[in-house]
Symmetry: C2
Subunit: 336 residues, 2 copies
């Protein structure tokens, strides 16, 4: 029920994803049954009728009733407690009860984070989850985290983000021994604010493929002079500012180029790679389970891609890898 174009975009995205997923996959649509049923009816008798459904039938879709909905303007912590029958809370509870494997939402991000922490719980040693976002670059896409869940971070937390991001890059993006860069204002270890300088030292001893500091310019390039970058670590304040900045730059440039007479179709095709909806949802890393944040303005295509991320997270056992990675560190800490 959450998201600027819900429930239509969400239901349509779910149907699209079923046409691409193997037939053993099913989807639960959580929300007001009557509203969802109407959307399903419209889609199956409209754009999803006949051939376009590619054989996907109602048997792969379960509608789960959740009479309440958390609004985009609701205060996260309050909403989660005061709306126990919201689609957000009910949907996540299905996973905690073993009735589903992953959860995707385009709703209130803060509420999804709060509900995921309360219902799915966090891995031991974590105080908060991190949001991992994919940035398109001139090379391969890069994982940037945290992109908004944690604003005041300690150096230890930045190291945790590095561990979470490395597992994500390996399991979801298929990167082998992912390279981890620390976002700073110069490549030298002594460049940066006090937290970043401390994190740099900790990351050198963290057992990760740490390639040192990376700068703002290295992110759109997807590489620094020490090679390609898979994971960029930063606090959630910087990450969120840069993410929103990035999202706004492409439309700005399209506007400039259109005014200069470049054909719109050509632009659209060229800039498809820069469209966030191509890169699916952003996983909330650190929770015990799979909770994927999709952009509030998600199109059906973005929802479909977010579901794809959820499937890859479940099938690669990303959550267990994260748990093992964090446990190994805790173990080392005890041994030392």
């Amino acid at each position: 029920m959450g998201g600027d174009f819900a429930p239509r975009a969400t239901v349509a995205g779910a149907l699209q994803s079923l046409t691409e997923l193997e037939s053993r996959h099913t989807i639960q649509l959580v929300g007001q049954t009557s509203v969802i049923e109407r959307e399903l009816h419209d889609l199956f008798s409209g754009e999803f009728a006949g051939q376009s459904s590619r054989g996907v039938g109602r048997d792969r879709i379960e509608v789960v009733e959740a009479p309440e909905a958390i609004d985009m303007t609701d205060k996260p912590g309050v909403a989660v407690r005061s709306k126990p029958n919201s689609s957000m809370v009910v949907g996540l509870r299905l996973q905690a009860e073993g009735k589903s494997d992953g959860f995707v939402s385009a709703g209130n991000t803060g509420a999804q984070m709060a509900a995921s922490m309360i219902i799915l719980k966090l891995h031991e040693g974590l105080k908060r989850p991190a949001i991992a976002t994919i940035f398109p670059t001139s090379r391969q896409p890069v994982v940037v985290l945290d992109s908004g869940a944690n604003v005041d971070c300690s150096a230890d937390e930045l190291v945790q983000f590095a561990r979470l991001g490395a597992v994500y890059a390996e399991d979801i993006l298929g990167r082998d021994n992912p390279s981890v860069g620390l976002l700073s204002i110069g490549e030298e270890p002594e460049k940066g604010n006090s937290v970043v300088k401390e994190a740099h030292e900790l990351l050198r001893a963290a057992g990760l493929n740490f390639i040192g500091n990376v700068e703002g310019r290295d992110v759109p390039a997807g590489q620094c002079d020490r090679g390609p970058i898979d994971v960029v670590v930063c606090d959630g304040f910087v990450g969120n500012v840069v993410l929103k900045f990035y999202e706004a730059v492409a439309p700005m440039m399209v506007g400039i180029l259109k005014r200069a007479g470049v054909e719109p179709q050509r632009l659209t095709a060229a800039l498809k790679d820069l469209d966030y909806s191509e890169h699916g949802g952003a996983p909330l890393l650190g929770v015990r389970g799979v909770s994927i944040i999709s952009h509030g303005k998600s199109s059906p295509r973005a929802i479909k891609n977010a579901i794809g991320v959820a499937v890859r997270a479940v099938e690669s056992h990303m959550d267990e890898h994260i748990g093992r990675g964090l446990q190994a560190v805790a173990g080392e800490g005890e041994a030392a």
Copy 2:
């Protein structure tokens, strides 16, 4: 002598600027006399010969000997003290001695900052200067500060940046009652890290045209839903990351569009507005005098524009306005 394309680009930019400035303006070229004289000779007998000089003669150019040069890799504080006869130190000393009105360099930014603080001194109440950078946007250009001089900032320092930026926007960009936004991760006052939340409260009572928090997406847009933005305030870590990110996005998009078959000439013309060299140098705000930082990769055009910023700063008495603005606040503080 500083900058990736010095001394050629610097000398050529100085000559270009003289063709546009009124005839009462003169330029001092500070560095190794023999090297500069050779450049001048080459330019006056080559691209700057005849008509293209538009009547600019050697009488408007003074060469000031400075045998040493600070390298891009020199440690700022050390270099300033160990190279007292460097072009950086000699050039700034001319201003302190009343022999020039403004200083422009494309050299080592850290050294320029250190030398400016030592030689020109700071206005009372400031601990460090701030670097103000112009960001091209979909609307009018926006001043972003600090963009790299101060990494760990207090809320008080962010308020000082707001005051410095407002004077800059008024004096250099000609904005009337400039609007000041605080860069954060949501428009609500309670969004942001702890320093930003504190700065938000202080800015509401600072007597500026404070329009509240602005987000990453508002910067390329040049506006938020409360209207156009003239000044964006952030700490130097965030500002530097976003600045370098921005500088790298345009080339990245040009690459994507070229591969998609958009004609390069059309792109170049369209993206001219996004070229930092069009927007001249970044003033070091807070020093008693005029010290303009030009990009290390400055072209002659960028140098020319940086000199233009220096001239506007001198002629608008920006430095005095800043001094008065900071004094008024100190006075209020005492009265309260």
